[in-house]
Every structure is written in structure tokens, then in C-alpha cells.
Symmetry: C2
Subunit: 334 residues, 2 copies
């Protein structure tokens, strides 16, 4: 199969995977926000946490050996530990719609909404929320705004994000594998590492760029990349190197009929997209977390594990592209 | 600190970390072999397994929550499950030397020798060993040959290795961080993925190459990398896509005073070196396993986690370079 068989979906967003919608809430006063990825049902889901300072909720429910292994939505937010309340709002809103597990007639529907947060508390926004952090409310609102088209850059959960010393944000990308399979990635990119090579302009993710989706810059001749703590990373600024203060939050999704365990492998392989788009990645200070979702619409058939490897490779590429698109878009808006 | 402060150690091998030696046994009839990395004592150690088909031994002893968390040596071998016997030989040889834990006067010394294997059973070598696979004996022999200088390419545990459709092998690289810290990597590279970009000649690891250590090829203009299952990977050949049949076995080491848990983070970050040097990586068919060792000679002092992030970043770079050096050297010998 030649390369020409592969192209982004029509939106080049994770919502090219049929059944997904995304809603943002962005607050310019707080300089923070929330992003909710909704499924159209109850999708197989898993998570892989590789950062040293993660902030998460409902991740244990997604372990392959546990009972649930599925999710109705994934919630991402700024706000560090306060942001975890975003899922309270999403859960309440989905339940009122009737989305969720029904364990007993008449009892509320129970939505499964894993969540992860990034740290943006020190970005100068108004965080004087006292006993009423806004994240729960933003979760409610984000559910209502979810749609197939959504903005990238300094919006939603990525409003307060940084990528190294530059503005980070929300990114997304998709790949149509040409045989009915579609893969997509959504990211809130706030890594401590740099998304740029030492020339300061070429994205590490450049080999995976499609049709200039993040500016088209290519590497010129340069010396070897040897400094493990490059100036363009915040790892070089000791004051910024706080556990949980830096994070790449991601969701990858596909339309295959993956099990929870297969979703786990999809998430694990997708972490390589972070490795390829950010250097350094997975440091003690990052909270790098990748969720994986599968709709089940497309039956993989024979050679499932081969197809899973293919989907995982595509998910890694989409995630690398999404990270670069996040920073590229945030820079244009800045 | 400028890039010029960073250079490989005098050998550009993992043995630039003081106290380490490496011994190979290579058998051209069996087309397989073993590689033993010896420490000069009992070093803090951890392991991170990310492949879908690993073959390992004594990895649980290295879990941060368990008792031991240290190792006297690491053994790598071909031979798939048969190769795990390499550690029997290493354990016996080290114990006879008096290396190991002494739980009771007069009882044998108990060496801790974690091991991992790669699959080379189908490479055409003579595997008719019946009830006497050679790996235990090779473990004994490899201990005796351990030295600071050692060969790269199609030798030792890498004798039967492949990298995609090309010969794989043993690789190594080191980085002197200029402040007393030294990091190194050793790899037996047998990945299902390709180490080359789609042009078939530029290593994915090219940005990290120092002084032409793997040929100096740089990427020319090319189309986007979009096929998640490139022809140059064995993932495209369904017959080769067998669990455990493909693996990148690696050890990263440094001379810092890391705890077992810190070694675990070092190993986790080093996995990014595989992600950057091989595409796809961490598939269901790979047994990707990274051990990490720390001698304890150099006290990290303040900001330990920052230094750990720096060491992990350097370990990832060294591992990416080691993978490219493995294939580059194996190709020259082929």
C-alpha cells in the first residue's frame, strides 16, 4: 500500500472518528479551561500514565483486569487538582441526559468519565476562587457545547498550557487508513520539554507532518542534539521543574472493535508520539497521560494483533502531529 | 551550558560508566549468542517492560516496592525462552567468584542477574540442541570474557537479531555530561519496526548522532511519513509478526546515586530512545525491555529530580544512538 492511501480525515481532528464530539470552555480571566470528549455511547477505553506527576481520576476503572473498561466521555482540564472537578460536572450533565450505566430502574444513570488535569495555576490568571473553583461548572458547560468541529490552540483545557517556554494548547489530528479504519488524537500540550529541535523552529514531529498542518518547517543542517536539558525546555529552569506542573494530556481514538486490553496497547504505543514530538518527555515533572478509546464499529477480523500494531503506530503519529498543531496554533493566536 | 560540554566518553560504550564490563559469546553455527553486562558490585537497578511479547527473568526482584532492587549483572541472549538459561550460567560463575548476597556464612553467594531474551530461533542457525541448549554455557563463558572494550554489530545476544528486514545486533553509546555524570546504553536491537526513515537510509535517530558514529546520513526532502506499517518494518510481513519474535533489549546506566525507584524512571525515560530510533516501536510483537543501573559513585545533591530528568533524557538519547550504531555496525559486517 503506498503512502497516498493515507490521509487525514475531513476535519483532521479526533472527531473524524465517527461518534466523537468535543466541547471546550475557555475562561480568559482565570486563564484556564476544560475540554470534554464525548462518545456516542459507552466505548472500550484504557489509559497509560507515564509522567512522574500525574493528576487523574477514574483511571483504575479502565485497568484491563477491572470491571468497567469503558467510558462515556473523557474530561481534560487545567487547574491542577482543582481541575479534577471537571468530571463532576460532566458526570452530572451526562446522567441528566440519561447517558450512563443503569444499575437499577429509577436510580440515576452512572456515566464513566475518566479525567486528567494539567497545571496552569501559576500563569497569572485569577485563581482566587476560594471554595468555589469553576471546573465543575465548566464540565457542565463543556458537555453542552460538544460538536464535531472544535478549536485548537489556547482554548479549553489548553488555555493555560505551555510547551517548554512557549504557549501550548489543544491540538488534534487524524489519519484515515484507507480501509475503513480511522484514528485520531486530541491533546492538551503542556510539556516541560521542547517541541522544537535546537534550531528553535523545526518541530520534532516534522517527519509526520501532512500538508503543512503545522507550518511545514524542515530541519536544516545542524549540530548533534546532545544537551539532555535544552534551554528551550523548562527542565533547564529549576523553578518550573515541579512535579505535576507539566503534562501532556492526550486521548487517542479509533473506530475498531478493540477490547480494553487492546485499548491499553493503543495508549502505550501512542506514548511514542509524545516521545517523538517532545524532548525530553516522560520526565519526573510531567504528568503524561494517554487515554485510548475504541468505538467498536469496525471489526478487525483476522490478524488482530497486526492490525492493533498498525493502529498503535498511527495513533502515535497522530499524537505527535496533534502536539505540534497545538503549539503551532497557539503561537499564531498569541 | 553549551552543546560542546557534551561528548561521548572515551570508548563511546556503556562501559564509559566506571565499573561496568561487557562480555559476548557468539556462535556462528547456532547463529545466536549471549551478552553479559557486569557491575563491579551490587548496583541499584530497575526495569521497564513495554513490549507486548517480552521474555524476562528476575524482573520482579527489581520492582521498587520489592526487597532487592539491585543487580550484580544483566544478561541478554538470543534463543527466546531457551536463552533465559544464560542467567543460570552467569549466576553460577559470579557465585563461584564470591559475587553475590551472603545470607549465611558458608552458603553460596547469591548473585542477582536479571535477564531478557530476543527471538532468533527462525534465522537458519542450527537449533537442534535437544535437551542441551547452549545458553547456560554461554552465560558461564561470557562472564569470563567481560571487559571494558567490546564489539558491536552481529555479536553476542545480537548475533541473530534483525532490525526490520535488516541485520540488527549489539549497539552501545555513551554521553559525558561534563559535570562528572556519565550515561551509557547497551542494546540488542531486534525490533519489528524500521530504524530507517522512508528514504531507507536515514536513521530515525539521526538528530542525536555525534561525530558520524552511525554514518552521518541526514534526511533529504521527502513526503510525509504516514504509513503506520512501513514496508521496511516486519510488521508489514504478517508471517514475521509473532509475539516475542521481535525485541529491543536494552540497558542504560549512569554513575549517579539513584535509588531503585529513580532507576525505574531512568528506564522509563530511556524507552523514548526506542520510540525515537524505531518506528513503530512497542508493538504487540516486540518484547521491548529496558534495564537501568546506577553505580552510586556520584552524589546528585540538590534538585535530584531535575538531575534525574536530565539523566533520563541523556539515557534516551544514548539508547537511540546505540540502536542506530547496532544496525550500522551489523550492516558493515554483513
Amino acid at each position: 500500500m503506498t503512502s497516498s492511501a493515507f490521509r487525514p480525515g475531513p476535519l483532521n481532528l479526533i472527531t473524524d472518528v465517527p461518534g466523537l464530539t468535543v466541547g471546550h470552555v475557555t475562561d480568559e480571566v482565570v486563564r484556564s479551561g476544560a475540554t470534554v470528549l464525548r462518545t456516542d455511547g459507552f466505548w472500550a477505553a484504557a489509559v497509560d500514565v507515564r509522567g512522574g506527576g500525574p493528576g487523574t481520576r477514574e483511571t483504575e476503572a479502565l485497568a484491563p483486569e477491572n470491571l468497567v473498561g469503558k467510558a462515556h466521555a473523557i474530561a481534560l482540564a487545567g487547574g491542577s487538582v482543582f481541575g479534577l472537578a471537571v468530571a463532576d460536572g460532566v458526570v452530572a450533565a451526562l446522567s441528566l441526559e440519561g447517558q450512563g450505566l443503569r444499575l437499577k430502574p429509577g436510580s440515576p444513570a452512572i456515566p464513566v468519565v475518566p479525567a486528567a488535569v494539567l497545571h496552569d495555576l501559576g500563569n497569572g490568571g485569577d485563581k482566587a476562587w476560594g471554595l468555589e473553583p469553576p471546573y465543575r461548572r465548566w464540565g457542565l458547560e463543556a458537555v453542552a457545547t460538544a460538536a464535531r468541529e472544535f478549536a485548537l490552540g489556547a482554548v479549553g483545557a489548553g488555555r493555560g498550557a505551555m510547551a517548554g517556554h512557549l504557549p501550548g494548547g489543544i491540538g488534534s489530528a487524524s489519519l484515515d487508513l484507507g480501509d475503513g479504519l480511522v484514528v485520531g488524537a486530541l491533546v492538551a500540550a503542556n510539556p516541560i520539554g521542547s517541541v522544537y529541535m535546537p534550531d528553535g523552529q523545526t518541530f520534532w514531529a516534522w517527519p509526520f507532518e501532512i500538508a503543512g498542518e503545522f507550518g511545514g518547517c524542515r530541519p536544516a543542517a545542524q549540530g548533534p542534539v546532545v544537551d539532555p536539558m535544552p534551554d528551550a525546555s523548562r527542565l533547564a529552569s529549576l523553578g518550573r521543574a515541579q512535579s505535576g506542573a507539566n503534562t501532556t494530556l492526550a486521548v487517542v481514538a479509533c473506530n475498531a472493535d478493540l477490547t480494553t486490553a487492546e485499548c491499553k496497547r493503543l495508549a502505550m504505543m501512542a506514548q511514542d508520539g509524545i516521545a517523538r514530538a517532545v524532548r525530553p518527555a516522560h520526565t519526573p515533572f510531567d504528568g503524561d497521560t494517554v487515554f485510548a478509546l475504541a468505538s467498536g464499529a469496525h471489526h478487525l477480523g483476522d490478524a488482530r494483533a497486526v492490525q492493533l500494531g498498525r493502529l498503535g503506530s498511527a495513533a502515535a503519529d497522530c499524537l505527535a502531529r496533534a502536539i505540534a498543531r497545538a503549539v503551532h496554533t497557539a503561537a499564531q493566536g498569541a
